[in-house]
């Protein structure tokens, strides 16, 4: 008789429920192509019961397979009056998954050997001395790099409060009229204040260009008292309305 504590392996040492199932199938010397569901379910549950409590976040997957096993078992036990010939074996999906998983697992063991072998071979990670010293780093990029770079940039910009929202179109005519309206109302405009009031960078830039146009066309004039002091914009009184 096999005692329960002959399984000295902890749940954590399995990569997942399929790993545990494969282990049990081997342990019990079962045929993977024809799994006795009752046996494997009992073994599997026995294994889970040994855990004092299941960490739902990390071990929910183990419970999911437990539920699946119980479901398959109940399907097999259902009395049927007529058994359609080509009816699918309820175990088949699980068996296929286990076979796929077994292949992956075996490939892993081969790859692990190759990894070990490769680790004893060293390649240079640096560029040896070369004639032309124009070295810049050049990369091979994938979609992930592209997206990661962009969203990292956006996060940085968010901190610095740079915004650029697409979709809204500002016409320079409207903007010019807005500026002239403000000038008529307020006598003068603090250039920097006005610029900073804009929520979106493209609108701010548009305002900037409109102001430049107004200055160029001698409709307004800008005055800076001393270097680095604030720039004030005034409407030229003699300008045509």
């Amino acid at each position: 008789m096999e005692a329960i504590n002959s399984y000295q392996v902890k749940l954590e040492s399995f990569e997942g429920p399929l790993d545990l199932l494969l282990f049990l199938i081997r342990k019990k010397k079962l045929d993977i192509h024809d799994i006795p569901i009752a046996v494997i379910t009992r073994e599997y549950l026995k294994y889970l019961e040994k855990k004092e409590h299941i960490n739902l976040e990390h071990e929910a997957e183990f419970l999911l397979i437990a539920a699946l096993l119980i479901y398959i078992k109940s399907q097999l036990l259902l009395p049927r009056e007529t058994v359609p010939e080509e009816e699918k074996d309820p175990r088949q999906d699980l068996i296929n998954r286990l076979l796929d998983y077994q292949n992956i697992k075996t490939a892993c063991s081969i790859l692990r050997k190759k990894e070990k072998d490769q680790m004893q071979k060293w390649q240079r990670s640096f560029l040896p001395p070369i004639p032309a010293s124009h070295e810049l780093e050049f990369l091979e990029v994938s979609l992930f790099d592209l997206a990661e770079v962009f969203f990292t940039l956006m996060k940085k910009n968010k901190k610095e409060n740079v915004k650029l929202i697409k979709g809204k179109e500002y016409s320079s005519k409207e903007k010019t009229e807005e500026i002239l309206g403000l000038l008529k109302k307020n006598d003068f405009l603090d250039f920097l204040d006005f610029f900073n009031k804009h929520q979106y960078i493209d609108e701010a830039m548009l305002s900037f260009f409109c102001l430049l146009d107004l200055i160029k066309n001698r409709i307004v004039f800008a005055v800076q008292d001393t270097l680095f002091s604030r720039i004030k914009v005034w409407l030229r009184k003699e300008s045509p309305a």
Binding site: A107, W122, I130
Partner: protein, 181 residues
């Protein structure tokens, strides 16, 4: 033309940080017949194949690369002051192997095949550039799809994806395990 092809190719493979492909060699040495380049490469590999050499040329990731001799590993570690290179975690290796055999594949498919959520392992592998995202699947939700990279091949010393352990190899191992029960 009076070029010392073997010498040139030796310099090129030496200077390249990643496996130098035949196509690249060809495009650098334009108008040299394939045959001559091939001969020069195999001559070169032969020169380095002696037991006495501390470095060799290997074909990996679709190209040629200089690497050190396995037996000298111990001394290199002393030089670089390294204990050991770090292995992939079991979860990362399993995820990598899943992608390798089932690519192109989505995250959900990987998790189904492994029976566990694979987000964290995927991140590690993307960061190590052993996996890459290469577009979206044409299915509902249009999930992102993953593939192995050239760095994956080099990491395991494979020349191409065809060099992955074959079904026969896998079955042979499974058979042996069966018998050893």
């Amino acid at each position: 033309m009076n070029l010392n092809l073997k010498s040139i190719i030796e310099s090129l493979i030496f200077i390249s940080r990643e496996p130098l492909t035949f196509e690249k060699i060809k495009s650098i040495l334009n108008e040299i017949p394939d045959k001559e380049i091939e001969t020069a490469i195999s001559d070169l590999i032969h020169t380095y194949s002696s037991q006495d050499k501390g470095i060799k040329i290997t074909k990996t990731g679709g190209g040629y690369l200089f690497i050190t001799k396995t037996e000298n590993d111990k001394w290199i570690k002393r030089l670089l002051n390294l204990e050991k290179k770090s292995k992939l975690s079991p979860a990362a290796l399993e995820t990598l192997s899943t992608v390798a055999y089932h690519q192109p594949i989505t995250q959900a498919e990987i998790s189904t095949l492994r029976g566990v959520d694979s987000t964290h392992a995927l991140k590690t592998l993307l960061k190590k550039r052993l996996l890459k995202i290469t577009g979206r699947k044409k299915s509902p939700g249009r999930p992102l799809i993953y593939r192995t990279t050239n760095k994956f091949l080099i990491y395991f010393g494979l020349d191409s994806i065809k060099d992955l352990p074959s079904n026969e190899e896998i079955e042979k191992i499974l058979g042996e395990e069966e018998n050893s029960k």
